[in-house]
Symmetry: D3
């Protein structure tokens, strides 16, 4: 145990420091998006376990974490096993009815319940739902030049059941699926859905856990930018420095910031206890985006 | 509309009668098991829709319905599509790890969310969870002469999250999956799980919706027994009159009765509004089992 | 029993329909005026009994009925027995001190308590008060060219005790008597008082039960108008089509509508379960007046 | 004003003393029976007014008074006006149906509402009900050698509505009429009914206001006994010292004491502020009966 | 006992009068300043005891008294014993660090606890704090031409802990010491601090108990003015009629009045039960200042 | 800052560990005795400051600390300045009336308020009272062969005001003075009083902060025993290994253990953050005594 080898004086000081952060974050809502790729395969089991443990510890310490998750790679794997190939338009999976069934099964029936199992094993009390339950994510078909099938966008967010679970001691785990006016399912971009929930909950922080350590500066291999202002982020997207998969993540952050969330973070899930370090230290571990 | 052609006098009398039953059932918990076979394929769409509408209407009228569901045929269909054959021992599907994943995906990710969609479309507020969420069904590996893999039996029931959802206006929809002490998933018999939940909730009624119209008397084709005493039911099982798939259903009813649930019902889901007729009339539509 | 002879399919459909209405009316306040003439003599005992049962059933089903009543004919009968003749001015009984005593005795001591007895016998929990208790109807002497003695008009309504009883499971039954600033009693027009209470309670409906089946159209014997707009009602009064005893009833409805009550109804108490049919069906039984 | 002529020192001391009593009686229930004879005619208007004012002042000071009343002489007067003669058996009025109607009208419609008027005029918030409302006095036909018609005796007391009114700031005023299982009315002995209510409410005191100044000792003209033990009271009844109208009063006191009410009092209503003096001074004004 | 010798009629009338006042003052906050000089030495033990008893009686009767106290003479006596001489500037004690320690010890450790002891002995439930506890009196160094050391003035008032104690049945006793932003102590003028608390609490009355019987009119020996308007009070200060020690008292009253307290009183503590007489009679005993 | 120089991995692990302890101690009451000698003089300012900061951090993190304090050396110093010599009998200061005044002034007026100042400066919300306020420590004169004056022992503990403050966000700071039945003050042994409070509050821990690092084993210079069973502790007192000032401390611990407090601790206040290290690490810093 690391703690035992330090002198008691150092130990006391770091305990005091940790408590200062606990006090600062108590009763504040933190929405965490735990991406499909990072959750299922892109991260070592050890890193993955500490994400779960961190969430359970934060809940226990009085912080109010809410987890939104996707499950992209697992969906692809299941579609392949069923002999179904997906077509992608601008990074979005064209979602016909059969694909939607698989998406929903994997997200709400596999990823969601696996996270609940892990949290329960870590001593937490978790309840997994989808964005259809309690109409958390009310969605509509996404507009656009091409018909993407049941790809949807969030129309409005109903936080009632999320708050109900959260204030009664449960850690809510939410699969990023939306529900239409006639009860139909929609395949939502998990980053956007999570950002919208953070905004609707009046969260104090919105954290995207990814398989890269943060927003990378051009020409610098793997050292992420420590902080980034919203305006600068928009400029970097325009300049092409922020590109591809990172674009929807940064956009989800910007949307959450516009809706009043004070800070948004993009951090790498590979580092053990990345969530705790980001929340409970000054320097953090990834990129913090501010308004 | 049927109502308009009647004389107003008849109409008034039947409205009064309906209200008498609403008054009698208000704030009482009714656990309904909606079986996989009946839900997905054995019943016409019309019959299926009225089950959902009935539940939503009962919730709206102040009754507290809780829905537990399975999804057998759909599981089989998905396993087949994935090229996986199941072995059955005494009617129980031997559940290896890969089968368990499919069972959980289909129950918690497909059947559960389809029910939530239908209830939402019918104007209800539903939240679908599995028996793992909030540790509703804490389970252990089922004992027996043969290793059935992750087939489990309910060890204890935690009704906290079910009551939380129910008392806050939501209709809880629960997939019959259990959670072990290390967070592992267990494949539960849906009838037994529902009966155990009815007992733990102190339900006033436990209703099994099936694809047959009730417990059939020997030699009488399709007219179910209207009522059945627990002792008589046990004798009919012993005599082989009650056989095969009906045995676990009757046993789940007997277990619920032993635990204090006043009456248990086995009724056919094919008849429109069967739930309402069973709850709100003297004669009912299926078989009522009493202690 | 009417219900038993129908096919189960029809029965299920009509139960579902009744529940839809129960859901729509739950927790909404309905102020019912049950007139003296209809209550005591103008209606068969059967019709009278169903009014009471309907109120008890509505209360049990979660609707919040409040009953206001008069008692004209019984007052006349008692005055006669005491050898006292009443003089009427524009349909209003000139009320000297001795007459007021009799009015109060009959309304608060006889009609009010008879209604409470009937409700109790029907399984309800009723509490009968007068408009003096808890200062429900604060009144003043009615202005006018002629001195009518203790004939009063409502000055303000205090709904505290009515809501207290209603939200605690009791069905409030209120005699239409008012209280002046020095505690004196006032003889109020029951229709007006009930309308004022409906307005003050923010009722969803105001229903006048009378001895005619509704507002009758000119030249058409006994078929009441099904619906009537406020403007049209005023015109019909001006044209003399609505006349005599119906005028204060329609005026009480118009006053309630002006104060924000969405709809007012004038219906005949003679038809069994008229209240249920009016509340729980589209076509209703009498005249609905809308703003 | 009496107060102004005293020296300030005396004034301060008596204010302090009054506050000591207010503190002692705060939030304690005192059931007061205000008899018909004393209320309507046997007492000067001044004495009658202070009874009402005392009740209002006690309520305002945090004591919880509950008033039960009869109305004998007024009933007799009304029966006479209606040409109806009463027959009495052992002091009980034989009550046929027509007599019961008059009893109920006078008690619940006249005496009850007059008391509410007086309390309202004195600045109080009063609600008058009968023992039928909220089933306060559930009664049955009184047994006995002779058929007394609707003379009843209290079977059980439901204090719900009394407590509801009392804890919400209202002073409950209750006419001593009971309700049978089918909703029928019963003519109750007011002293007994009040004593039963005091017992059911767990009252701290039961006070009978009468037209004599207390229990009179034999041979001593009009000086009431100051205190009396229950056993001694029983002996005085046996010896005939306590006789006629005083017997049911003393018996009602003894019943209340048996049921746990700490002290019962029989005091004269003629003396101004007799209630305050009895509650708030050591010596009191009438007869206190202790267990 | 004075009460026993009066006739019962007088007694009843004065009890009724006392209750009228109790009703009028119930649940209203009265801030009382009990000055150091009057508390410790200027008043006979009898007078002092009745101040304490009056506060306890008022609390018991439902009034909400809050006591603020100083302790001037006792501080002087303790400083003398410690061989420390105070310098005064405009009546304010120059307060160096050592003096502040003594001031705080005497006020919070001696006067405060002595008052708690006396209230407890009188049957009350008291909790003594200083203005530092719960940051009741947040203070800063008083500005001025001369450096007065730790003499402070109230910057803001936090009533949380005072209300917490008061609404939970305790009588709050507050030493007039303030706390600075770094936790340092400030010596406050007790009259001003009490007035500021009365304003912050929205008190119904602010009462200054002093060693003179009120504001004395010029040329009239010891008869205080009965009432005084704020404007007139300011003029009398300007004219020099109100002078020396009375000036800060009147100014504290005027400040409380400006902040919305309806009336402020300066009364002599020497008269037994002066508080009760002032609150509960029309004429009172000292000087009432009105806006 | 120590934290910045560590690797993030270590940092994450120690944050996780700290949170595990926060979760374990949340909402649990910890009574801390902070002795007079250690508080005022025996400990460096740095050590003293971290005691205060630790308490404020614990309160902020959801633990419920309650502080009891003495003030021995300061009392002696003040008595000396006032020319008063104390006589001690078995370590107890003979307390005449004048001595009691000084004890109360110093404890409740100086030590108590200094602690409140320090907590406020550290960002906490503290309220300082004595054991007389709210009758926390009801005491009587201590029995014994010799008259020790106002030396008292705790007779009963009323935790009402302590819980009221604690559950409303305040950190209660309590001077170890008791109150007798007539309101008189008693000089209590602070260790015993704190132990009695820990028992009455059902505390999870009782911690004595002293000027030695724990219970020292015989012959081993300054390494305290890490753990000690109650029986062993009693034996060490009997053997004289535990002696003098340590005896009452160990006895207070044993009394708290007997009353159900799970563990008691004697730790040195000199080490920075000793409280956090004792509560939040396995090894701790002083001596833990278990039943």
């Amino acid at each position: 145990m690391v703690i035992n080898v330090r002198t008691a004086v150092d130990l006391g000081a770091s305990l005091a420091q940790a408590l200062r952060y606990v006090n600062a974050w108590k009763s504040r809502t933190v929405v965490v998006k735990y991406g499909g790729s990072v959750m299922m395969s892109g991260v070592s089991s050890a890193g993955r376990d500490t994400v779960i443990e961190d969430l359970v510890l934060l809940k226990g310490a009085g912080v109010d974490p809410v987890l939104v998750h996707g499950g992209g790679p697992e969906i692809t794997r299941m579609l392949e096993r069923l002999g179904k190939t997906s077509r992608f338009v601008d990074g979005l999976r064209v979602t016909d009815e059969e694909t939607m069934e698989v998406v929903e099964m994997v997200l709400a029936g596999r990823a969601n319940k696996m996270l609940v199992s892990m949290m329960t094993a870590a001593g937490g009390a978790a309840v997994g739902i989808s964005g259809k339950d309690g109409k958390v994510f009310q969605a509509r078909k996404q507009d656009g030049p091409e018909d993407l099938g049941q790809v949807g966008e969030v129309e409005s967010v109903d936080t009632t059941v999320v708050k109900l679970l959260s204030t009664n001691g449960y850690l809510p785990v939410i699969a990023s699926i939306g529900i239409g006016r006639e009860g139909q399912s929609y395949n939502l971009n998990g980053d956007h859905a999570a950002g919208a929930l953070a905004a609707a909950l009046g969260a104090s922080k919105f954290i995207l856990l990814t398989d890269v350590p943060g927003v990378l500066a051009a020409g610098v291999d793997d050292r992420p930018l420590s902080t980034l202002r919203a305006g600068e982020a928009r400029r970097l997207i325009g300049d092409g420095v922020i590109s591809r998969g990172m674009i929807p993540k940064v956009e989800a952050c910007l949307a959450a910031l516009s809706a009043g969330v004070p800070t948004a973070h993009i951090i790498g899930a590979a580092q053990p206890h990345a969530l705790l370090v980001e929340l409970f230290t000054e320097q953090g571990v990834g990129t913090m985006i501010t308004p």
